[in-house]
């Protein structure tokens, strides 16, 4: 009995996956639990396991192809088995994601008896195709086959310096990343605007700012320098970069959010002196106890969580399809993290019930893995509220787009020195503006304002957090 293997849903938001690498060959015996391929989802690169024993009779997609969830990607079965019925079933049904797979199906469907021969001709089958010599001077992109080519030394240097190899262009043969590429990347990193080390603090949410800065940096050498005599006509007008799964997902989801959820914005200015003193006391303790340092962002996360407990209307979602509004019983705060390819939002679960030290540790750990693209989809799902912080870039205030299906997102600006009037006198003060974006379908102005007032109280008198 031929067994279809279709594209599984590997994350809550995934709609299609790119098969980045086959790990099994046609004709190979596989067992339940074996990983036969790797699939890049909108969030991570995941292993594709099979759930049955059998021979991998046919691969229906090629490495690099994007495939809809549920589309047929391979067929398992007994050696020599006729797979036409499976192909028909899928051909008539959902259909494969791309033309090539469809063509392969059609071919096999028309001549089922020739299945083995077809299999032999399959591009990623055996020997001949794989051994085809690479033409000299073929500078294929590094991630061509979903695998980054790098010298062992370059890999080690990248790992030691927490560089994401995916963002580095290799200058070696076939785009291999080598020592000098890493050295250049390190120089570029040092030259880039100083980012603060603690993970949570450098968690900028902005959909726009951070990636844009990176891009400018990376592309700088491509611009013509003054004095270059190269004619402008000789230059390419642009560099086309294929959309990554992550970029596609970000685009789709944010557009969907901005165009369907009616946003309105509430800004409040918060006196941060209390929080600053509180944090200093706290970190004297964490230092003594050798626990991770607590960042402002961690305190804000905790303050939001505590305020959400008090204002369950804000901890909600408007679900049009289901025809309901959900008021969540649990508080899961998503913390937006900019990574090189885009933006991810690891979720601090039950943030209201966690201590600051634990929030600090979790945030830092997940942000680190997010940069290595090692977060599991589950760790990025289920936020009931989201924060986005661009304070470290000196952004005083901004508005964020709601992370659906949550009802609100809080945009956090920088803590700034400002003259304030206290007891009739102008004195130096520390202020921070936060802006709450609300989905008006579920949160009204008064509800959002009440939440912000509580948040303000918590941050101005952080002892509230302990109550």
């Amino acid at each position: 009995m031929a067994i279809p293997v279709d594209m599984p849903k590997l994350s809550d938001t995934m709609e299609e996956g790119v098969l980045v690498a086959w790990l099994a060959d046609e004709g190979e015996q596989v067992s339940a639990g074996d990983v036969i391929a790797q699939v890049e989802t909108d969030k991570a690169t995941m292993d594709l396991e099979v759930f049955d024993d059998g021979v991998l009779l046919k691969k229906l997609v090629e490495e690099g192809d994007a495939v809809d969830i549920g589309a047929l990607i391979a067929v398992l079965g007994d050696e020599g088995e006729d797979i036409s019925s499976v192909l028909e079933e899928f051909g008539a049904g959902e259909g494969a994601a791309n033309g090539e797979a469809e063509a392969a199906e059609a071919e096999a469907t028309e001549a089922p008896d020739e299945a083995p021969a077809t299999a032999e001709r399959a591009p990623s089958g055996d020997g001949a195709a794989q051994q085809a010599p690479v033409p000299a001077g073929d500078e294929a992109p590094a991630a061509d086959d979903g695998r980054i080519k790098a010298s062992p030394l370059a890999r080690r240097m990248a790992s030691q310096n927490e560089l994401d190899m995916a963002t580095i262009d290799g200058s070696g043969p076939q785009g291999r990343i080598i020592k000098r590429d890493i050295e250049q990347a390190l120089e570029a990193k040092e030259a880039a605007p100083a980012e603060e080390a603690p993970a949570a603090e450098e968690a900028p949410a902005a959909e726009e700012a951070a990636p844009a800065a990176e891009e400018t940096e990376a592309k700088a050498p491509a611009y013509q320098r003054p004095g270059d005599v190269v004619s402008v006509d000789d230059e390419d007008l642009y560099e086309a970069v294929p959309l990554s799964q992550m970029r596609k997902t970000i685009a789709r989801r944010l557009a969907e959010s901005k165009f369907t959820a009616p946003h309105f914005y509430l800004t409040i200015d918060i006196d941060m002196e209390g929080t600053i003193a509180f944090r200093k006391q706290l970190n004297d303790l964490t230092k003594a106890q050798e626990r991770p340092k607590v960042s402002f962002n961690d305190i804000i996360t905790k303050a939001c969580a505590t305020a959400l407990r008090k204002h369950p209307d804000v901890n909600s979602a408007y679900l049009e399809k289901e025809g309901e509004i959900r008021y969540y019983n649990q508080v899961h705060v998503g913390v937006a993290v900019a990574i090189d390819e885009g933006l991810v939002t690891p979720v601090i679960r039950h943030a209201d019930r966690k201590g600051l030290s634990q929030i600090a540790a979790e945030t830092r750990e997940m942000a680190g893995r997010a940069r290595e693209r090692k977060l599991q989809p589950a760790e990025m799902e289920g936020a009931t509220f989201t924060t986005s912080n661009l304070g470290m870039f000196g952004i005083e205030e901004f508005t964020a787009i709601i992370n659906p299906p949550s009802a609100c997102i809080l945009a956090i600006g920088a803590i700034r020195d400002e003259p304030v009037v206290k007891n009739g006198e102008v004195v130096p003060g520390k202020r921070m503006k936060v802006t709450l974006s609300c989905d008006h379908r579920v949160v009204d102005g008064a509800v959002g304002s009440a939440f912000l007032n509580t948040l303000q109280q918590h941050l101005e008198e952080p002892m509230n957090l302990l109550l």
């Binding site: 010298s151 030394l153 070696g172 080598i178």
Partner: protein, 326 residues
């Protein structure tokens, strides 16, 4: 420092050792009356007499085995192979007797014997007279294999080999016998076996080469220096046991390596060095290890083919630039 030819340095080492120890004798084809096929033992018959400088018939299996038996019974023979190309008719003697009897006897017998003679290609001699034997013999546990590259090293290393209590194969070269070089005039100049020599320090690329190829490595290093890159040149000196530590330390500095090896490529000295590098310094490699070897064919006769067969400096130079991504 005295300037000696390679052959004179070897002769000096043998002479000094034979003067020191009565149990040492030299045996081989044409070593006595003829003064050595390549005049290495010139004058030694006159100095030591026919008991200690012994001519043999053309009988490698016989006199190699004879040397091994004499060593087993307490003497310290130096057995000259007219060239190592002829050693294969005595291969079993070296493989099964010299290398293994100590082990098979549970350590009861030892084999303080040196087999020496010219190794590798010596010009347009056709396929039988152009074999580089390093990997054949270095493969065998129980043996030591030494490959000097300079007159100075040949003296110090041969004296150490003669004093060693294990069987040592000492690989010289017809092409190098006339080569002159400064030789230490230290009274008893002995270079320890098993230690590589960092001939030239650098950080751009590690070049490993022995014997004739040592000179190619130096030429390549000169050319790289003209380009502004300092190559580190390592002469292993001893092939078995090979001083991998020195090579690995260098790779950790340069992150790349080119090996020049006159052997045919399959399962050769360069294969083993490359294997050890990937095993011990994988994370330090910025480029694949490259090697320049003899071609994977028997040595040809025609001049252009023979030139093409041998490792070439141009190829080694280009390989260095390749691994440096230049």
């Amino acid at each position: 420092m005295a300037e000696l030819q390679f052959r004179e340095a070897i002769r000096a080492a043998m002479t000094e050792e034979m003067e020191r120890d009565e149990d040492i004798f030299l045996i081989g084809e044409e070593v006595a009356e003829y003064d050595g096929a390549y005049k290495v033992s010139e004058g030694m018959l006159d100095q030591f007499g026919p008991k200690r400088v012994v001519d043999t018939p053309i009988s490698e299996n016989g006199f190699t085995g004879l040397g091994i038996g004499a060593a087993m019974n307490g003497l310290r023979p130096i057995v000259e192979m007219m060239t190592w190309n002829f050693s294969f008719v005595a291969f079993d003697q070296i493989l099964n007797n010299a290398a293994k009897i100590r082990y098979m006897s549970g350590g009861q017998f030892s084999f303080p014997i040196v087999f020496r003679g010219p190794n590798g290609a010596a010009g347009q001699l056709g396929a039988t007279h152009n074999t580089s034997v390093e990997s054949f013999y270095a493969h065998i546990p129980g043996l030591k294999v030494v490959s000097p590259s300079t007159p100075n090293d040949s003296k110090g290393l041969l004296k150490a080999s003669i004093r060693d209590n294990d069987p040592v194969l000492f690989l010289e070269s017809e092409r190098m016998y006339g080569l002159k070089g400064e030789v230490s005039d230290e009274e008893d100049y002995v270079l320890p076996l098993g230690q590589a020599h960092v001939v030239r320090e650098g950080d751009a690329v590690t070049l490993v080469a022995n014997g004739k190829d040592y000179y190619i490595a130096l030429e390549v290093a000169d050319r790289l220096a003209e380009d502004g890159h300092q190559a580190e040149v390592i002469d292993p000196r001893t092939i078995r046991p090979l001083d991998f530590d020195t090579i690995i330390a260098s790779i950790k500095k340069t992150n790349r390596c080119v090996i020049i090896d006159e052997s045919n490529p399959f399962a050769s000295l360069s294969s083993e060095i490359a294997f050890q590098i990937q095993e011990r310094a994988f994370d330090y490699l910025d480029a694949p290890v490259r090697r320049i070897t003899a071609k994977d064919v028997p040595a040809p006769y025609a001049k252009n083919l023979m030139d093409y067969y041998m490792p070439q400096a141009d190829d080694a130079y280009q390989a260095c630039r390749d691994v440096m991504y230049l």
